[in-house]
Symmetry: C2
């Protein structure tokens, strides 16, 4: 079955049992997370999140890019979150190439944010949140690595 | 219980039952999605995704920003996805303010990408993917609106 048909069918089942109609927009547990788009990660499952609990920001590499900071600023100032988790993961695709290689292949100067060290990248992300002028001093950030072979989280910053 | 303790406890339960150790990095169902960070959305649930199925990109507003395009380019060129879904949702926070208001409040010229019309924003995102020089013509994009009051997806582009 093609993807679009499959997801429509899956969504019909979900909507038939839907019970979250009355949730407010501000996250109930007042936090946001930045993690990777990687298909093996289901942060709602590995963090125990229910619908309504937390903002989930995801991109290639769990990199705290300008766009992640944009999202966090909206999360905090308009929807009341007070802290962020940055969650990188083992086996990340961003460890497997260099920006220059992909830039050359695609004939572009776009920054892809590949990185050679996972924990360094998470720590840099945490620092970027702490140092951002768009977020107050009181907004906390903590960094983790998720292990795709064990499902375990480990705090690294 | 503070957030960090809660998530560590939830993660211990998840890891204790972990059964996805052998999943490969390339998404098994060869698609990516761009949706909003909104806490009420659990795309794995409302699309019927298992760990390993699809890349999940999320930001404030499901906006196809430069950073979302960066992630999609990596998703396609390095990890083999062939199509993207752009999924906005009713009741999105991005409909409730104007960039200028938040810019003035935070004394910044950062573009927050607030938008006045949900379907227009999804359609613009789909167009951006179709027109991107970082993705081939063959890479497909489809747009949906998710209804936070019913759990239903509706195709809009």
């Amino acid at each position: 079955m093609p993807v679009l048909e499959e997801i429509k069918k899956a969504n019909e089942s979900y909507a038939a049992d839907f019970s979250s109609a009355d949730l407010p927009a501000p996250p109930g547990r007042r936090f946001a997370l930045v993690t990777c788009m990687d298909a093996r990660l289901d942060p709602a499952k590995f963090l125990g999140l229910e619908e309504g609990d937390a903002h989930v920001i995801r991109n290639a590499g769990a990199v705290v890019t300008d766009d992640a900071i944009r999202s966090l600023a909206i999360s905090h100032h308009l929807l009341g979150t007070q802290q962020a988790l940055v969650i990188g993961h083992t086996g990340c695709g961003m460890l497997t190439f260099k920006d220059e290689e992909l830039q050359e292949r695609l004939d572009t100067d776009v920054e892809f944010h590949a990185f050679p060290d996972l924990e360094d990248s998470v720590r840099a992300g945490v620092r970027r949140i702490r140092d951002s002028s768009l977020l107050p001093e009181s907004f906390e950030a903590t960094g983790f690595v998720y292990d795709v072979k064990s499902g375990e989280l480990r705090e690294v910053a």
